[in-house]
Symmetry: C2
Subunit: 258 residues, 2 copies
């Protein structure tokens, strides 16, 4: 039975893709069969895993629009045990196209076309775009757990209450089994008081929902995608990679998965 | 005759709001009457200018949905000569609501409801959300100039070609007078080779379209929004503020506005 997470935050640039790619790689490195589904038209997770010609590939757009296409779209990655449903620009028109379906149907397309294929995986991570539109709602409807990367800065903190509200609405109307699994503090900068202020604020409000592991700001993480590699492969010794390996360990513990 | 700019980049967290707020403040500081229009449901530009109870205010959502409402929504800011059309969460449903209008109409709502009121301003800046959806397309249809903040990192660079393609499509179908005014390099980190690589790459491809002034990564910029102030007011001496003052000067020169 797969454990399926949506990596969500409508605030842009907070580390959703970086967390999806590196957490996915760390989980696969423990031998667990892991799937990443790239739901962002930018296709950053797809590029970050080494795919350079994604525009010609079948993508998550095809998954949303035609049932039974899962195995035609699925790609192995350079990392053993890690697979991906890639994304490309075809997905950018999806929000408007999905809006044409009836309310109540358009939110469930991903769930219908993806869920039947997940049992062969141990962990599934859905990378979402920076918005609370139909693509993200489809992701929230298709999973049981939400992981929220939260940049340790003011604007990111401001958006958290709206995100938690949206999760509650989806729980009430579409997916009652949806749970906020946890919040991962990202880009923690030890040189500034701002990061600690935000971190303390979030921990005091959300307590145990916040992972003990935080991800430091570390330039090696930002360098890795230009080589088409997760930071863990690009430079396993750097602080950023070590933090993502720790995060994977903590997630496995919280899932009771020894 | 106002000079109207859309601040656009679908990549999240690249400094769109920070550029809108600080460039707007710098232009107002020269005595030019400046308007900021916040088109992001997150409402970060509204918060960054000191508005703490934006959820109760009329917003850019009202501007999009009802003609003639401009003066009911307009707010002065704490900065002389700087005004704002605020945003709040009401805007988050707009993309789906706008999708119901006929193609050809839904892209022009902002232009119809905003443009008639712009002549009393010298400069107008539209802060866009991190997507190329209907809100951003409405912004591109309503302006003559596009300013693209570009974070000096790999994923941000990857998205640039898609953004330039979208601008060409809008030029061809909706707004023939739309021009890419320029690209502003943001969060330039002198400690890493990555920033210089990205900057050199962009300058070699786009030459003069790239502003000479770049914005350094500077923690004081990230601290300012928690005080509801632009960095220029929070700490005018810091490197970030000085860079935005230089950017305003360069923009005025490029506009032939002594
Ligand atoms: N811990 C970190 N230290 C330094 N840089 C980081 C870190 N995490 C992410 N980055 C960099 O910051 C930028 C934003 O991260 P990323 O693209 O993963 O965020 P995102 O939330 O997926 O963005 P979007 O909202 O556009 O989807 C990227 O250039 C990435 O390489
Ligand atoms: N030059 C800079 N140095 C340091 N921090 C910065 C700089 N510019 C912006 N920031 C910080 O980086 C984060 C992202 O910036 P900002 O919110 O302006 O980007 P954005 O493109 O508007 O994001 P979104 O895509 O969510 O709208 C914010 O926390 C901001 O305070
Ligand atoms: Mg992303
Ligand atoms: Mg913004």
């Amino acid at each position: 039975m797969a454990k399926v997470f949506a990596i969500v935050n409508q605030k842009g640039g907070v580390g959703k893709t970086t967390t999806t790619v590196n957490l996915g790689t760390a989980l696969a490195a423990t031998g667990r069969k892991t799937l990443i589904v790239d739901l962002d038209p930018q296709g950053n997770a797809t590029t970050g895993l080494g795919f350079t010609s994604k525009e010609g590939m079948k993508s998550s757009y095809d998954l949303l629009t035609s049932p039974g296409s899962f195995h035609d779209i699925l790609q192995p990655t350079a990392i053993p045990h890690l697979f991906i449903i890639p994304s490309n620009q075809n997905l950018s028109g999806a929000e408007i196209e999905l809006a044409r379906f009836k309310k109540g149907e358009r939110e469930l397309l991903l769930k219908e076309h993806l869920t039947p294929y997940l049992d062969e995986y141990d962990y599934v991570l859905l990378d979402c775009p920076p918005s609370l539109g139909l693509l993200t709602v489809n992701a929230l409807a298709a999973v049981e757990k939400v992981l929220v990367p939260l940049q340790c800065e003011f604007y990111a903190l401001e958006g958290l209450s709206q995100l938690l509200k949206t999760i509650r609405i989806v729980q009430g109307k579409i997916n009652p089994s949806l749970v906020l699994e946890g919040i991962v503090l990202t880009m923690f900068d030890t040189r500034s008081a701002l990061s600690s202020q935000v971190a303390n604020d979030v921990r005091s409000h959300l307590g145990k929902k916040v992972y003990d592991t935080h991800i430091p700001r570390n330039v090696r993480i930002a360098e890795a995608p230009s080589f088409g590699k997760p930071a863990i492969l690009y430079d396993i010794k750097c602080l950023g990679s070590q933090a993502y390996l720790d995060l994977a360990k903590e997630l496995l513990q919280r899932e009771g998965d020894k």
